[in-house]
């Protein structure tokens, strides 16, 4: 057997084992976190090298093979998602070592308890994400999705306090409801077609009543977990009340997990079942999410809540992929635009939430109206927030710009210009809510409220993630070559004339 073929197993088991160790040895949590972050790099590089060099890889766990055992599978989309998780995950791990190194304000004991439980839960979440991106059958995906949801809920509850706990319960109920709906869809697909494998289902699923029922149940469940308007109500309190590193992984990675699965199902399994009207419905809900999320972000009184509502708005763009891919010849453009949007949003929102968490850590509050002149207290953090803002708005040369350009191209080349209006006006709204904060943060005033000392690692990780989101706009076509590896669609990246 090839020496690199066991890489997918390592990628799942290393964080899982370290999570259990971190639970047993609570004082060593931070060290185990760093061991995981460093230890994941070689198997990830090994897997990337294999997939880029030799095409998609499949690995039968324990040598049992598909019908009996569990197959792990990695193609271009999987490795791009794994890379995104690793970059944000390493950033969060380094940030958390600083964040949890000094006691919290006036609640030292609580803060230490948090840090003891943060590490096992975060490593479990990391394992669940890696398992999700490497799973090849819809039941395994259900298990990974549940692990992801349960560890994310527990992380939200870490902050203690009534608002965090109620947010966690809401999140848990929505997450379980979504999983149940998804599982019922899995049951229907299995009985209609006798297989659970994503690849085999893609060949046999047709527009039978069972197929329709399955796509409806699975899409409903997953959109609930991805917080698509109007099922977004649980997201802002959960993301805004969690501790800073937790908010970051929730917004940057966890919601992408369920959306990734939705992309796989729509473009690989239900290709024969999808109708334009359902795709348009998702697109319209996406438009509502962009408008509503941006409006709420404009009204938010707290910085973390502003960033959380911005996530609701940005997730709306992802759902435009479904109607845009229906246009003739624009399928790959829309699909790759969506994947690019996931990446750039993960880095930009990761940086924004880390920076907002640093503000809350430094000043003890994040009320926007009282954050006047903060750039002079924490210039590096605010610089990171500014770069992240550039990508969220979609200004060149950021990754957000490329993603929106691709979506715009798909809209105009596919003759669906009405979506383009939303994409452009969503960018204007994002500019409005980002600058609403900056108009206060950059104001010169005589005295600024005092700020506690901020560990260097917290400032630099936010900046690093922000630079990643900017770098996505500069590195050129390399990510497209990777996501093309056994992509469900093919075609030119930019179709037709330029928009």
């Amino acid at each position: 057997m090839h020496p690199f073929s066991a890489c997918p197993v390592w990628i799942i088991f290393l964080p899982l084992v370290n999570s259990i160790l971190a639970f047993l040895f609570r004082r060593r949590g931070a060290q185990l976190g760093i061991v995981t972050a460093v230890g994941l790099v070689p198997p990830l590089l090994g897997l990337f090298w294999q997939v880029i060099g030799h095409g998609p890889q499949s690995y039968p766990v324990g040598g049992w093979g598909a019908p009996l055992g569990i197959d792990l599978y990695a193609d271009g989309l999987s490795i791009i998602m794994l890379a995104m998780t690793a970059v944000v995950g390493i950033g969060c791990t380094l940030y958390a070592t600083g964040y949890y190194s000094h006691g919290g304000e006036g609640k030292e004991k609580q803060h230490h308890q948090d840090s003891a439980l943060f590490w096992p839960l975060w490593l479990l979440l990391w394992a669940a994400l890696n398992a999700l991106f490497l799973s090849a059958d819809i039941f395994n995906l259900y298990v990974a999705l549940e692990l992801l949801g349960l560890s994310a809920v527990a992380l939200v509850a870490l902050a203690g306090g009534p608002s965090a706990v109620t947010a966690a319960v809401r999140y848990l109920l929505v997450s379980l409801l979504g999983s149940m709906s998804y599982l019922l869809g899995v049951a229907l697909l299995y009985f209609a077609h006798g297989t659970l494998s994503l690849g085999l289902l893609g060949e046999v699923v047709n527009s039978s009543p069972a197929g329709f029922a399955a796509i409806t149940l699975m899409t409903a469940g997953l959109t609930m977990k991805t917080a698509l308007f109007p099922l977004h109500f649980w997201l802002p309190p959960a993301h805004a009340n969690a501790p800073a590193p937790v908010s970051t992984v929730l917004s940057a990675l966890v919601v992408k997990g369920s959306f990734y699965l939705l992309l796989r199902l729509w473009f690989q399994v239900f290709t024969a079942t999808v109708t334009p009207s359902v795709a348009n419905l998702l697109g319209i809900l996406g438009v509502a999410a962009i408008l509503w999320g941006s409006a709420q972000a404009l009204l938010a009184q707290r910085l973390k809540l502003l960033v959380a509502y911005s996530t609701v708005a940005q997730l709306g763009y992802l759902f435009l992929v479904f109607p845009l891919a229906q246009g003739t010849g624009t399928g790959f453009s829309a699909w790759s635009g969506g994947v690019y949007f996931i990446l750039s949003h993960a880095f930009a929102k990761g940086a924004a939430f880390l920076a907002a968490g640093t503000v809350l850590y430094g000043f003890g509050h994040d009320r926007i109206d009282e954050l006047v002149g903060v750039t002079r207290r924490m210039p590096v953090t605010m610089f990171a927030f500014a770069i992240a803002g550039v990508s969220l708005i979609g200004l060149p040369p950021s990754g957000g710009f490329i993603a929106k350009w691709l979506l715009l191209n798909a809209a105009l080349a596919g003759g669906q210009w009405w979506w383009a209006i939303v994409i452009v006006s969503g960018g204007l709204l994002a500019a409005a809510y980002v600058f609403r904060f900056f108009s206060r943060a950059f104001r010169h005033v005589g005295e600024i409220s005092t700020c506690r000392r901020i560990p260097r690692s917290m400032e630099l990780t936010a900046l690093a993630l922000a630079l990643f989101s900017l770098g996505l706009g500069i590195i050129g076509p390399a990510p497209f070559e990777i996501i093309q590896i056994s992509a469900p669609l093919s075609g030119p990246v930019l179709s037709g004339g330029l928009p």
Partner: protein, 102 residues
């Protein structure tokens, strides 16, 4: 075959009842029970449909799925109950507040 259809219909009814309970009741304990009823509905469908038409022995794959699903459901219920206790401790009531926390 007709028996398995009967049981899957029963499973769907349980699923819908659970969905109704989740939406209709404010108390957390009832909501958690409602989710469990939904889960039982899905598991019943899986077990019932494992007897395919004209087969004597049932398909083992759905049974393995139900076993895994039960483990997941138990852990999720435990987490939900622990969180419900925390809600009771911190807010003094085992219900979700109506207004969105801000």
């Amino acid at each position: 075959m007709s028996v398995s259809v009967l049981y899957s219909l029963l499973g769907s009814t349980l699923f819908s009842l659970g969905l109704y309970g989740l939406a209709a009741y404010a108390q957390l304990l009832r909501k958690i029970l409602a989710i469990n009823i939904m889960g039982s509905g899905v598991f019943l469908i899986l077990v019932a449909l494992a007897y395919g038409p004209g087969e004597n022995s049932p398909d083992p794959v759905p049974h393995a799925m139900v076993l895994t699903g039960l483990v997941v459901a138990v852990s999720a219920t435990a987490l939900a109950l622990a969180l419900a206790c925390r809600v009771q401790e911190t807010t003094g009531s085992a219900q979700l507040p109506e207004d969105e926390s801000d």
